[in-house]
Point group: D2
Chain length 261, copies 4
Amino acid sequence: MDVSVTNAQVTLVQLDNYGPWTVTPEPRREADLQTMQSRLYADLSQFFGTRDGYVFFTRFDNMIAVTNGIDRAAHARLQESLRNRYPVTVSLGIGAGANPADALVDATAHLQAAGSAQDAERREVLAGDPLDDDERTDDDVHIAHFDVNDATGKYTDELDAFSTFVRIEQGYASLMRALHDDHDGLAFFVGGDNVIALVPELARETYEAVIERVREEADMSLKVGVGAGRTATDAGMAAKHALEVCREDATTVEGDVAIRN
Amino acid sequence: MDVSVTNAQVTLVQLDNYGPWTVTPEPRREADLQTMQSRLYADLSQFFGTRDGYVFFTRFDNMIAVTNGIDRAAHARLQESLRNRYPVTVSLGIGAGANPADALVDATAHLQAAGSAQDAERREVLAGDPLDDDERTDDDVHIAHFDVNDATGKYTDELDAFSTFVRIEQGYASLMRALHDDHDGLAFFVGGDNVIALVPELARETYEAVIERVREEADMSLKVGVGAGRTATDAGMAAKHALEVCREDATTVEGDVAIRN
Amino acid sequence: MDVSVTNAQVTLVQLDNYGPWTVTPEPRREADLQTMQSRLYADLSQFFGTRDGYVFFTRFDNMIAVTNGIDRAAHARLQESLRNRYPVTVSLGIGAGANPADALVDATAHLQAAGSAQDAERREVLAGDPLDDDERTDDDVHIAHFDVNDATGKYTDELDAFSTFVRIEQGYASLMRALHDDHDGLAFFVGGDNVIALVPELARETYEAVIERVREEADMSLKVGVGAGRTATDAGMAAKHALEVCREDATTVEGDVAIRN
Amino acid sequence: MDVSVTNAQVTLVQLDNYGPWTVTPEPRREADLQTMQSRLYADLSQFFGTRDGYVFFTRFDNMIAVTNGIDRAAHARLQESLRNRYPVTVSLGIGAGANPADALVDATAHLQAAGSAQDAERREVLAGDPLDDDERTDDDVHIAHFDVNDATGKYTDELDAFSTFVRIEQGYASLMRALHDDHDGLAFFVGGDNVIALVPELARETYEAVIERVREEADMSLKVGVGAGRTATDAGMAAKHALEVCREDATTVEGDVAIRN
C-alpha cells in the first residue's frame, strides 16, 4: 500500500471571467489570445519558478501550480503584477492536503466557494492558506518526471508530426488517468515527450505498474525519474537527475521511491 | 463521401536538437524551459497571426502552423528573428496537400529528409514550397472551432480543477482521433474548453457524427462552428462567428459545411 | 547645401491616456509599468521590424517608427493586437514629408487634431496616410548609425557605470540637437554606445561637422555609417555594414553620403 | 550640508561581450536586438521588482538596479534563468556605500576587476556582497520621483513629438548632472516625463535648488516626491504618493526630506 504523508501545497490559478471576455464585444483573434495566454503562463512560470515552485499550463485559463514555500503575500503580489500588465485578472485558490489530488480539491473549493469562474463580479479572489512553516518538511513534494523511450527515433523522425503527437497524447492520457484515478497524482504534459507529475510517495512497483499500464493501453514505453524535496524545484531537479540515470543505465525507474512493505 | 479540394499549406516548426540541449551540460530548470518554450510559441503566434496564419503549440518542440499566404522569405525572416533572440534555433518544413493531414505529411517529410530532429549538425533547415499564388482560392482553408456545451457550469464550477482537465483532455483525445483517422483533419486543444481543427471541407452530417462519437467515447457534449477562407485567419474568424450562432441559437453545427450529395 | 528629396514615412505611436492610467486608482508599481512598457515596445519592434520598419522607444508612451512600406491595414492590425493583449491602447499617426522632421510634424499633427494625449475619450486613433506605392523610391529612407570610438576601453572599463552613462547621454544630447536643429534628422539612442538617426540625404562634410560639434560640446569621439534604402531595414543594414567599414579601416564616415556640390 | 547615512545596495548588470556579439558573424538586425534587449530588461524588472528592488534600463547593455534585501542566491538564480532563455549572459556586480554614487562605484569596480566588458572569457561574473541583514535599516533607500509640470499640455499636445522629446531629454540631462555631480544621486529617465532618482537623504532646500537649476539650464519646470524605505519598492511607492500630493496641492517638493540643520 502506498501510504502518503506528503504535504503538497497547490495553487489553482483561474483567469477571471475569461471565456466571455474572449468573445466580447465580438470574438477576438485567436492568435492574440494564444499569445496573451502563453505569455501570462510564461510569467507565472518565472514568478513561481524563481521561488522554487512549478506551474503547469493545463487549460491556460485554469493553471495548476505547486507552491510549497510561497506565501500569501507573494500570491497577492503576483495578482497585482498581472493586473498591471494584462487585460485580464486572476483568482488564486491555495490548497493543501496529504496528497496532491486532495490539495487541489481544497484549492478548487476555495475558488468555487467565492463564485463562478464566469461571474463578472468575482475578481481577484485570493483564498486558502499556505502551509505553516512548522508543518513543512524536507520531502513534502514528490515529483515524477516521465519521458518516452527513444521518442525521436521511434516517432518524431519516423511518423508525420501529427501522428507522433497523437501517440504522445494517447500515452499522456493513459498516464494521467493511471496516476489520478489510482494514486492521487497530478500529471502534466510539459512539451516534447515529457510528463511531469506531482505525486505522493509511491513505491517502485507502483511506478512499474503504471508504466506497464501505459504500455498496454497506449503501446508506449516510458521511463521515470522520481525526486523528493522541500519545494517543487528541489523535487523536480532531483527527478531530472534520476531520469538522466535511467538514460545512462537504460533503467526504467530511478530516484526517490518508497520501499514496499 | 467527403471530397476535399482544400489547398492547405502547413508549416512544421521544429526546435533543433532541443531535447539534448535541455539536459546539457546538466538538466536545465523546468521553469526556465517552460518560460522559453511558451514565449517562443507566443512569438510564432504573433508572427504568423499578424500575417493571417495560425500556429498551434502542439508539443512545443514541434509546432504546427497553417501558413496559406505566407511566403518563403517570411519563413526565413522568422528563423533569423528567433536565432537573434533565443538560445535555440528552429527548422521549418513547408507542405501542401489536398487535405491537412497530407499537407503535414509533406511538411514533415521535408524535415526528416534533412536529418534527425536530434542531429546536432542539422540546424535551421528551410525546406518545402509555399503554394503558388495562382493555385490559391478563397476557400483553401477550412477551420472548425469546437467547444464544450456549458463547460463552466458542468465542469469548472463543479469538479476539482484536475478532474475537469481530465474530462476536457479525454474529449479532446477522442475528437482528435475522430478527425484525424477518418477525415484527415488536424485538431488542436487551444485552452479552456476549445479545440480548433484544420479540416477539409466536411458535410454537416460528418460533424454531427464526429460530435456523437465524442459523446459516446468521452461523455462530452460539443458544438462546432465552421469557417472557410483564403487564409487561416479568414477561416478561423468565420468559424468563431459560426460558433457564436451555435451559442445564441443552441444549435450544434453552424457555418461553412458541405452539402451532402 | 543639403537638398533632401527623401520620402520618409513616420508613425507616431502614442499610448492613450497613459499618464492618468499609471496613477489610477492609485500609483501602480514602477516595476510593473517598466515591464509593461518595455514589452509593448518589444512587440512593436517585432511587428514593424519584420515588416522592414524600425521603431524607437523614445519616451515609451510616445514612440517613433519609420514605416515606409507598411500600410494602413497593418497599422490597424497592430492596434487590434495590442488591445487584445495589454491593459492600454495606442493611437497611431502616420506622416510623410521631404525630410524626417517634417514627416514627424505631420504624424504628430494628425494625433493632436484628434484630441489630447490625456483625453479619456480619444482612443485608438488611426490617422494619416502611408505613402502611395508609386511615390516610393529605392532611397526613400536614409539611416545614419553612430557609435563611440572605443567606448568600452575609454568609458565602460574605466569609469563607474553612471559616469559612463552620463558621458554617453551628453554625447547623445549634443548629437540629437545637432541633427535636429540644423539637418531635420531624428536621432535615437538605442543602447550601448549606439545612436541611430533617421536623416535626409546629407553630405560627408555635414557628418564630419556634426561629429566635430559633438567632440567640442561633449568631448566624445564618434564615427558613423550611413545607408539608404527603400525601407528602414534596407537603409539600416546598409548603415551597419558601413559602420563596420569604419571599424575596420579606422575611418569616421562611410556609406551613402551625398556628393557635395 | 547633506549628510547621508544611507545604505544603498546597487547591482550593476552587464551583458557579457555584447557589442561584439551584435556584429558577429555580421551585424544582426536592429529590430531583433531591440526586442531582445527590452525583453531582457522587462524580465529583470519583474525579477527585481517582485523582490522589492528597482532596475533601470540605462544603456540596456549596462543596467543599474537597487537591490536592498536581495541576496546573492537570488542574483545567481537570475543569471541562471537568463542563461537558459537568452542568447546572451550577464555579469552582476553588487556594491554598497554610504551614498548611491559610491555604491555604484563599488559595484562597477567588482566587474572591472574581473575583466573587460568585451572580454570573451569573462562570463557570468557574480561579485560583491549584499548588505548584511543587521546593517539594514528602515530608511536605507531614498527615492526621488520627478515629473514635468503639465508636460502634456505644454509639450506633448503642442510640439511635434521629437521636439517634445528633445525638451524632456534636455531636462533629464540637466537633472542627472545636478544630482550626480553635487549630491551623489543617480537619476534615471523612466518614460513619459518621469525621472526616478536613487538619492541620499537630501534637504527640501536641496531639491528646490536642483529644480531651480533645471529651470535655468533647460527651461523646464519640475516637481518631486521623495520617499524613504527599507527597499526600493517601499521608498519608490512612498515617493509616488508624495508626488500625488504635489499634484493635488500644486506644490513642488513633498515627502521624506531632511530637516536642514
